[in-house]
């Protein structure tokens, strides 16, 4: 089959960039990586990209296809080539580009290392002739997290990281959860403390790009929710993000509905919420902030409070609570577009235009203007 590719070439030493078009003759089963190999072999030996295993296990070949991160060795080209679509291939986002499709993974490894991704002391040797037995239930809590191959696809489109480059990000935090949830690890509390700090758990904006992009089903956003749940269970809940979450629980129990008026002081504390007064008053005029009295109480609030007391006793909390039903979710297939009558490919190609240019600066750098 004939496969067309538009590849963003980029050289960080000269700053030269160009979108080059290539067409190769490839076998029908060819992946994107196979096609890049053909380009390099037959058309242009200077094309730079990373690869190793060619079977989705080493995590080397992350790159963007039409603006979304993929593993080049996972994507088959047949459908696209048949449809006559020549995708735009570029380097992953949120990492500096070295050349063409090769990014500098150093910032990624720095954050990875900061998670101390090894079992902390306390992992005692089992007595002679015995072994550590970990229950299936405990394993399930970190099953998805242990599938990570460190490819960086989740980081590429992380919306929080675009805005705050220091955010630990989905891969590092998923790795953190892999250790927080490991019963053999003795540093759980220290880890939760560390991950709850600025640029940690509560920086995540829940854009779900990480879950969408991860080629291994790690679902980093879910891992971050597990970390949040574990932190709050351990009483590490001083961060504004944690307070924000706690207030939701309180409202659901007391009035049934979230009352935005109270969310600001409950999250930010009284002092900073006074600074927010002018802003809040502007909203109040528009009826955006309901008056505090009398509170709007949902009719069914008694039931929802009773439900809270009941489940609280049952102790399915922290990460265990989030893992419930996880298997049911993992069985769901990606049946995108099937439900939509006219859905599918009719969309205007925002992804074709988005992010195709390499070497862009993040939207806002911390400390910048």
């Amino acid at each position: 089959m004939q496969v067309g590719l538009k590849i963003w070439r980029y050289d960080s030493t000269t700053g030269d960039r160009a979108l080059k078009e290539y067409e190769v003759d490839a076998p029908e089963e060819a992946t994107l990586l196979d096609c890049l190999d053909i380009v390099k072999d037959r058309l242009d030996g200077s094309l730079a990209y990373r690869k190793s295993c060619r079977m989705m296990i080493c995590g080397s070949c992350g790159m963007r296809m039409d603006g979304g991160a993929v593993l080049a060795c996972k994507v088959r080209m047949y459908d696209m080539a048949s449809a006559g679509h020549a995708p735009v291939i570029s380097a992953m986002g949120n990492l500096p580009i070295v050349k063409d499709l090769v990014v500098d993974m150093e910032p990624f490894w720095q954050k990875f290392k900061a998670m101390k991704p090894w079992l902390q002391p306390g992992y005692d040797q089992p007595p002679a002739d015995e072994e550590h037995v970990i229950s299936q239930e405990r394993m399930n809590v970190i099953h998805k997290e242990s599938l990570c191959i460190n490819c960086g696809c989740c980081v590429s489109e992380c919306n929080s990281m675009e805005s705050d480059p220091e955010f630990l990000g989905p891969q590092a935090l998923a790795k953190g959860m892999r250790f927080v949830g490991d019963p053999r690890d003795a540093a759980k509390t220290e880890r939760l403390d560390q991950y709850s700090a600025e640029h940690g758990i509560w920086d995540c904006t829940r854009c779900y790009f990480c879950n969408e992009r991860c080629p291994k089903g790690v679902d980093p956003r879910d891992a971050i929710a597990k970390l949040g749940a574990e932190a709050m269970k351990a009483g590490i809940d001083e961060d504004m993000g944690a307070k924000h979450a706690k207030w939701f629980v309180h409202s659901a129990k007391t009035t049934g509905w979230l009352r935005e008026t109270e969310l600001v002081p409950k999250t930010q504390g009284i002092v900073s919420s006074i600074k927010e007064m002018k802003f809040a008053m502007g909203l109040a005029v528009k009826g955006k902030v309901p008056p505090p009295f009398p509170p709007h109480v949902a009719e069914g609030v008694k039931e929802s409070r009773a439900l809270f007391e009941l489940v609280k006793e049952q102790g399915v909390d922290g990460a265990l609570g989030i893992v419930q039903g996880e298997r049911a979710l993992s069985r769901l297939e990606h049946e995108v577009g099937h439900a939509a009558g006219g859905g599918g490919d009719t969309g205007v190609g925002s992804r074709d235009q988005a992010d195709v240019s390499p070497g862009e600066e993040p939207t806002r750098k911390r400390g910048g203007e």
């Binding site: 779900y208 979450a245 069985r331 990606h334 490919d345």
Partner: protein
């Protein structure tokens, strides 16, 4: 007429009442009979899911159970976050018999009807982007949006994770564009339409959130949009109310009107202020309306 259980969520019940009012007014015109759920509470967003995950599941199961009790097979939402929350809980319960059994036992103890797992959670957007709703929409939008350039803003949790939402291609969605065009407006395209507005962290990490928020507003402005339309009241709140903070931080005064989806269709259907409630917005919608009347 399709009878659907209608879940407003907190925002449309309180600070975004204009969303509820315009949705109620519009629904009969697009073939929807809304059965309002009287006794339900907040779905807990990502927050209760994170703080008390088991409670999140039960809270949402309760909402699903009352929706099922209306006899409808559809629970209609008007908020992205509610949609993801309820769909996620629903799939967890539908796909795990033991979990459903345990949750039902708990529901029974506090007097909530059993949930049998028959409800499908669908956003209002999906109801009018295809099928009968879409056909009726074209007739309802008789006044049109001629001459208006509208920037669709999807937000996150109606697209991703697509495994749980799955209505359309999360990278190239088209439902809002189809609706804008059916209403006679011109849909403009810009990269940030599928990105995050920053709402979930707008209080805890304001600086980071504003770095996200500015993207759709700035790009829509540059593309010449007269207004942004969104299917989510949380996106609406941050895009509309936090523009003043963007101005303070960057000096840029965008004055970009932000419309709820039901309001945009309402304008095309010739609705008036009583049904639209634009006075509740922080950024004035007048310039857009003026352009339309010329």
């Amino acid at each position: 007429m399709k009878r659907v259980a209608y879940y407003k969520g907190c925002l449309a019940s309180l600070s975004a009442k204009e969303l509820d009012i315009s949705t109620q007014a519009l629904s009969p015109k697009v073939g929807l009979e809304l059965v309002e759920l009287e006794t339900v509470t907040c779905c807990g967003a990502g927050d209760i899911h994170e703080a008390e995950p088991d409670y999140y599941l039960h809270l949402n199961a309760r909402i699903l159970a009352y929706a099922e009790a209306t006899g409808s097979d559809t629970l209609m939402t008007v908020c992205n976050v509610c949609t993801l929350n309820l769909r996620q809980a629903n799939f967890q319960l539908q796909g795990d018999e033991r979990l459903l059994e345990r949750v039902n036992e708990n529901l029974a103890k506090v007097g909530v009807p059993e949930y049998r797992g028959t409800v499908d959670v669908r956003h209002f957007l999906w109801m009018v982007a295809e099928g009968e709703g879409y056909d009726l929409l074209k007739a309802a939008a008789h006044k049109g949006l001629k001459g208006l350039k509208i920037a669709p803003f999807y937000g996150c949790q109606i697209l991703r994770p697509s495994k749980l939402l799955g209505f359309e291609d999360p990278d190239r969605p088209s439902s809002l564009e189809r609706i804008i065009e059916a209403c006679g407006g011109e849909a403009i395209d810009y990269p940030a339409k599928i990105k995050c507005c920053g709402f979930p962290i707008i209080q805890a990490r304001e600086e980071t959130a504003l770095g996200e928020l500015i993207q759709p507003i700035e790009q829509a402005k540059e593309a010449g949009a007269d207004a942004i339309v969104t299917p989510c009241p949380l996106c609406h709140l941050s895009l509309d109310a936090w523009q003043s903070k963007l101005k303070k931080q960057t000096g840029k005064d965008f004055q970009m009107p932000i419309l709820h989806l039901s309001q945009l269709i309402g304008v095309a259907a010739g609705f008036h202020e009583a049904e639209l409630r634009f006075k509740r917005h922080v950024v004035s919608v007048e310039p857009m309306l003026d352009k339309l009347s010329v």
